[in-house]
Amino acid sequence: MENNDASSPDRKLQCSDVSKCFQLLERILDGELVEECEEMLQEKLDKCQPCFAHFHLEQAIREVLKTKCTKQPLPDKLAESIRQMIKDPR
């Protein structure tokens, strides 16, 4: 069962290999290591507080970037003027 509490007594408070773990977590979040990692990931997050916190922080950052920085409204007529330019390239 997934344990999503921000803190849990089951987790150790020090990560013995921050560098390797965090790099792995970030690659998983970036979608680079999907299949291999599902189980390993859950186990790690259940057992290690620094990994848990890092994973959720990195996940939150990706989410807010995706939801809050992609809404630049397209200027009126830009698409139209591009279509016009290729029809009539001179």
Binding site: A6, C15, V18, S19, K20, C21, F22, Q23, E26, R27, D30, G31, E32, P50, A53, H54, H56, L57, E58, Q59, A60, I61, R62, E63, V64, L65, K66, K68, C69, T70, K71, Q72, L74, P75, L78, A79, S81, I82, R83, M85, I86, P89
Partner: protein
């Protein structure tokens, strides 16, 4: 592009490829252009130029391959060649030069326990957006490509003409810088103080 001699598209095929595969990406393209230039008119010109080039070189686009990545690569190159030069701002250090000096895979991974996922989620769009816009262009670019547009490391390597290892380490550094800024915002909003004390006990 590869040296494979592709057959030329007919007039109708050109229009079909342009409308069907290129135009659907215009929102993402404009968002990218705007976040590179910070100016609506420049962004508009950049997107227009990119689409004109895409049309002109349409025969080197292979149907069924990733049109979005192909277009982003053209846009990024146009930006570097035309817009960065034009810019009146003093030249900033090209991160790529600095980067190759250091071992790019030797990246420092460390815990940022003083920034919490909850405080990041509570931030306003403007804060996130300003934090992103405050990054140097090479860092900003990898975050836009990865997090806003969902490109894979491999696609980013092709768009930026850099090795995958460099993509990964640059992205990691970019996110660390972003976290530093967000941490500053979070502290000024008073987030995370209590938790910090708890952890330090």
């Amino acid at each position: 592009m590869s040296e494979v001699q592709r057959r030329k598209y007919s007039q109708e095929e050109r229009s079909a490829v342009f409308d069907g595969e290129f135009m659907p990406h215009i929102d993402s393209m404009y968002n990218f252009a705007f976040r590179l230039t910070f100016d609506e008119d420049d962004a508009k010109d950049l997107v227009q130029d990119t689409y004109m080039k895409a049309f002109r070189f349409i025969n080197s686009f292979e149907q069924g391959t990733n049109a979005k990545a192909w277009l982003f690569r053209i846009l990024k190159n146009s930006f570097i060649n035309d817009y960065r030069k034009k810019s009146k701002k003093p030249a900033t250090v090209d991160y790529q030069e600095v980067e190759t000096f250091y071992n790019s895979d030797d990246v420092d991974y460390q815990s940022t326990s003083d920034l919490r996922a909850e405080s990041v989620r509570d931030m306003l769009g403007d804060e996130i957006s300003n934090a992103l816009n405050g990054l140097a262009v090479d860092f900003r670019t990898v975050i836009i490509l990865a997090d806003l547009e969902g490109f894979t490391y491999e696609e980013m390597a092709k768009i930026l003409d850099i090795p995958i290892g460099t993509v990964r380490s640059r992205l990691h550094r970019a996110r660390n810088l972003l976290k530093e800024t967000l941490k500053g915002y979070a502290q000024s909003m008073g987030y995370g103080r209590d938790e910090e004390e708890d952890l330090n006990d």
